[in-house]
């Protein structure tokens, strides 16, 4: 894969094994899915896939997540019925990072929700109880969000169509901000990302993310928890945004624990800017560590 020189220069400085990292970007991540526990059990899915002769393997870090070398899982009856949800592994991390909080939450916000992978996962973890507000600014993308909510039987959801920066005053127990980003981490499936890549694009996203992160935090109830995530490696959009939040709000960064998943700590310095030392509690997901796409997440409490 042809990567821009500047991209290579930036990340060679912060990744543990540049050679493996850059090589991983040229290979597709494995096909993965999540068992939708609203409609099915792991045992049922394992039995059905065995009967089809499709080999699947449960991940070591999320009992409902499976990978398969067979690209045809989209043609199964279970996919048609919404018993499984085809989803990239790394994108399953945000709800998993607050699994315990979600079990007791009544009021949850997914601020940039389309196409609904996270929303439907959150709904399943909450066992269809309480309320998940799935918001997205883009009306066209809401069609996909609605489709997936209906397919998975996520009854405890409602869809809204606000600009996340202007979401009306409310108090949520848990807020997810999976921010629009430069999507560097999805290069394994979207090769064209590298041809469109520029530092200017990164800085443009960071500006929007700063506004979104403050609004998302302001929507938390006292004691509430927020997950900030992106699918990019760019520190300006990752640690830089979390640092901006703690500089501007009484936000406390918490450690994330997902046993058997390999994370790198957040970095505390980038381009001569020093971040709050707690930013290292954030998690960088490099594709070559768990054979996923690239991701970043941080857990913050109020």
């Amino acid at each position: 894969m042809d990567l821009p020189d500047k991209f290579i220069e930036r990340y060679s400085k912060i990744v543990d094994n540049p050679e493996r990292f850059f090589a991983s970007l040229g290979n597709l991540a494995p096909k993965s899915f999540r068992v939708n526990t609203i409609k099915a059990t792991n045992a049922e899915i394992e039995e059905r896939f065995e009967s089809y002769g499709i080999e699947i393997k449960k991940t070591a870090w999320y009992p409902e997540a499976y990978v398969s070398s067979n690209p045809d899982i989209g043609g199964t009856l279970e996919h048609f019925l919404g018993k499984i949800y085809i989803q990239e592994l790394a994108s399953m991390l945000p709800p998993l990072a607050v699994k315990e909080e979600l079990k007791s939450a009544n009021f949850v916000l997914d601020l940039c929700a389309a196409p609904g992978s996270k929303t439907t996962q959150i709904s399943a973890i909450m066992d269809n109880k309480g309320l998940v507000v799935a918001n997205d600014i883009n009306y066209d993308r809401i069609k996909a969000l609605k489709f997936n909510i209906e397919k998975t039987g996520s009854l405890n959801t409602m869809i809204s169509n606000f600009d996340g920066r202007k979401f009306p005053d409310n108090q949520f127990d848990v807020v997810f901000l999976d921010a629009p980003c430069s999507s560097e981490g999805t290069m394994r499936k979207s090769f064209d990302i590298s041809s469109r890549w520029s530092e200017k694009m990164i800085n443009g996203h960071a500006s929007l993310q700063k506004q979104l992160v403050l609004r998302a935090f302001d929507l938390l109830s006292p004691g509430g928890t927020m997950i900030y995530s992106t699918c990019t490696f760019a520190p300006e959009e990752d640690e830089g945004i979390v640092n901006y939040l703690v500089q501007n709000r009484e936000a406390k960064i918490e450690k994330i624990s997902i046993p058997n998943f390999v994370f790198d700590s957040g970095i505390v310095e980038w381009n001569e800017q020093k971040f709050d030392s707690d930013v290292k509690k954030a998690c960088r997901v490099w594709p070559h560590h768990n054979d996923t796409e690239g991701f970043f997440l941080a857990k913050v409490t109020k």
Binding site: L77, G82, L131, L155, N156, I159, S160, N170
Partner: protein, 152 residues
């Protein structure tokens, strides 16, 4: 803004689903029936966030026009609660149904179902909604959900 369906509509929908499909009204106990506009009835959370930019809450369970038409997604979610008016298709026919074809069905397959909306099932799975008339099964799967099945 999302509003609850008028009580009369709620009663009418529950009564129809019980009469035609044997669905007990307790499945609705923890949820609300909301008005989705254009005759759509949603089953969703009881507590919602009041807002002028709300689009919907929960999932579409039926559409009311001259009759009440249950949705495929409702049937897929609550198929285990349905006790009558079920058309059971075999392996060969279910592939055609999921692709979107209308089908001719036998008396064994219709299993004493009466004319009207039916649950189309395969093995233990609720596949979707059809309309039965004179041994003809009209396919009511939404176009966006139709697909070719490779493994079933």
């Amino acid at each position: 803004m999302i509003d609850n369906c008028p009580q009369a509509t709620q009663d009418k929908v529950k009564e129809y689903l019980f009469e035609r499909f044997g669905i007990s009204a307790d499945i609705f106990d923890n949820f609300a029936l909301n008005d989705g506009g254009k005759g759509r009835v949603y089953l969703g959370p009881k507590a919602i966030m009041p807002s002028h930019k709300s689009i919907c809450a929960g999932i579409t369970i039926a559409r009311i026009s001259s009759a009440i038409k249950p949705s495929t997604i409702f049937f897929q979610l609550f198929n285990k609660n349905i006790t009558k008016n079920i058309v059971r298709l075999d392996r060969e026919k279910i592939v055609k149904f999921v692709k979107g074809e209308d089908l001719e069905v036998t008396e064994t397959e219709t299993n004493q179902s009466s004319e009207g909306y039916v649950l189309v099932s395969y093995s233990d799975f609720g596949i979707g909604c059809g309309f039965l008339k004179d041994n003809q099964l009209k396919n009511l799967l939404p176009k966006s959900k139709r697909m070719g099945l490779d493994f079933y």
